[in-house]
Symmetry: C2
Subunit: 359 residues, 2 copies
């Protein structure tokens, strides 16, 4: 597939101009750009600039407000519920996580459920906001339904990712960030572009039969929860995706389960939505609300070093710590640039023309 | 396999006498019995009376204190860290969850990390303690290492379960309670007793090759994280198990990863333990710290009813909600009695004789 290499700065300037052009404030455009590009930098290409045109189309369809009035609608000392006023999730989410951090400073932990929002980029970005404060960060979001529960052929849940960021001392932080499905939808899209088959256990057809067709979602098929099938624990992946849905959207007043709003603007909104927009959930836990931060971080170094030294299986170099691959990718791409495939470049050019920003 | 049926009351009286005989207070014996038997009632036979002899052997080995001095060693308005003083996890865990509930009453949520503890029975019991308070409950624990991380052949993590209990209104609550492995160790033990093979994807041999040998753990093999292999997301199961380990034991000062103490008393303790005992982690979130409880529970009813009606795959009756199988089992067993296999009965008799309690 044809691709070109761009520097982070090049992509940054273009993306920021797009967000300004659709009416974001300087500050929001900066935040949205940083969040969006953290996906490209970390190698999660499906969640970065490749989605920019989608956000703009949602703005055109008036499903995204570029100047939202984000409000706390309910709170206690350790919690808040936020109405995102249909803002960019890329802006609403860091706002909400900052509130969780502030509450954690005061009472040890902070927990924020957000409704009436939109896609928030990669969950890992938001979880990692806590690290500089010596806090553990948790971020999750629901998403439009692509996943069939165990024993079902109906798409009821999104890929509903969970991210957890945990600081260490000398070692880089532990950063888990994963869809609660066997494979993220982005991985399936890569196979579609390559015209390749999917491994057994990623998707099923409309009757619930195992399938290797990477295009099966367009044929009434569905993604499978982490675990793939009942015998291999798919009921656990289904439970995890459900927990994310409930914490993010039922707690906040967002729209949950099969009623979660779709990302593509051309797909009509579900009927009889029980809430507004997508939902997110954030947590921040101050380390020293449990034990001295220095002590904890020394033990995290010990944990990480011991797991890195775990005996590898034949044919494998070493055991990885969650976050290792993305961090290595980020170092590489910040130095050598970020490859963007031609179809995304074309899409970005068109998006720029639409709102008067030159590529 | 030969088995006999006992009423809950019969098992209750015997178990309570055992706990009294090893020196538990009246109150602790009652708590420990309730927690332990909730596993038998709910059909998780590996975690119920089948483990009673193991607890007694740990007490004989002086690894369990029957009269522990459980202490809060650190706290904030929304958090606490507890030293379980090597008490029965069956007693330490409900104590800790009660503190989480009290903190949630005050500031919206409560989060408690526990070290220097022992096995706490089923995670679901503790998570469910929050339900009567209109709170969401979260419970997790680390355990002795049986699981190899992705790309490894070394056992580094326990089966590290997570339980989440969420109240509804007319519908029964949503209760997820699952090991972060493809299959819980108890499932493997059932296959061992039947002399049956394990499905591919549950375990691997000492070289990291796929195996169907249900006895492979005794041959240096290991359990696999949820997802089974890298292609099917085992790095996500590995991350989940790691998060449980860190929240439970690194935050609290417990012993983590490969250093988690073993359940069988005849296995020597690991060398150079970085902390004391097993660790647990509990959370309680008041629903009305986010939105009115009645409103939330109505939406949970809607969520549950919609998921129950999801179109089933061919060959399946209906879609289940997490907690359905265990609740149905509990109703059945409280009415018809609890089957106990002969080897467990023999074991219980011997345990009784040892401490002067008649079977």
């Amino acid at each position: 597939m044809a691709e070109q290499i761009f520097s982070y700065q090049q992509l940054y300037q273009f993306t920021q101009k797009i967000f300004l052009a659709i009416g974001c404030s300087e500050r929001d455009a900066l935040t949205a750009t940083k969040v969006l590009l953290s996906a490209d930098a970390r190698g999660i290409d499906s969640h970065g600039v490749a989605r920019l045109s989608g956000y703009v189309r949602l703005w055109e369809a008036k499903r995204i407000h570029s100047n939202p009035n984000i409000k706390i609608i309910h709170e206690t000392l350790s919690t808040a519920t936020i109405d995102g006023d249909a803002g960019l999730g890329l802006v609403v989410a860091p706002y909400a996580m900052q509130i969780a951090i502030n509450k954690a400073k005061n009472v040890g932990t902070g927990w924020v459920s957000v409704g009436n929002s939109n896609h928030f980029g990669i969950a890992g970005y938001h979880a990692m906001m806590t690290l500089e404060h010596d806090m553990i960060g948790i971020a999750m979001t629901n998403a439009s339904a692509l996943v069939a529960p165990t024993f079902s052929v109906e798409k009821m849940l999104g890929t509903n990712p969970i991210a957890v960021a945990i600081p260490a001392l000398q070692q880089p932080p532990f950063i888990a960030d994963f869809a609660t499905t066997t494979a993220a939808n982005g991985k399936l899209e890569i196979l579609q572009r390559k015209n390749a088959d999917a491994p057994l256990g990623w998707v099923q057809d409309e009757n619930g039969n195992a399938s290797i067709d990477a295009n099966i979602l367009k044929k009434r098929g569905s993604l499978l929860p982490l675990g793939s099938d009942r015998e291999h624990g798919s009921h656990k992946g289904y439970a995890l995706g459900s927990i994310v849905d409930i914490f993010s959207a039922v707690l906040s007043g967002g729209s949950y389960g099969p009623w979660a709003p779709p990302f593509p603007a051309y797909i009509p909104m579900p009927e009889n939505m029980p809430g507004k927009g997508l939902g997110h959930f954030f947590g921040a836990m101050r380390i020293d609300a449990f034990r001295p931060a220095q002590e904890f971080k020394q033990h995290m170094d010990n944990w990480i070093e011991r797991f890195r030294k775990a005996k590898p299986a034949k044919g494998f170099d070493k055991v990885l710590i969650p976050g290792d691959p993305e961090r290595e990718m980020e170092e590489k791409r910040m130095k050598n640039g970020i490859p963007i495939i031609q179809s995304v470049i074309d899409d970005l050019k068109l998006t720029g023309e639409k709102v008067g920003v030159k590529w």
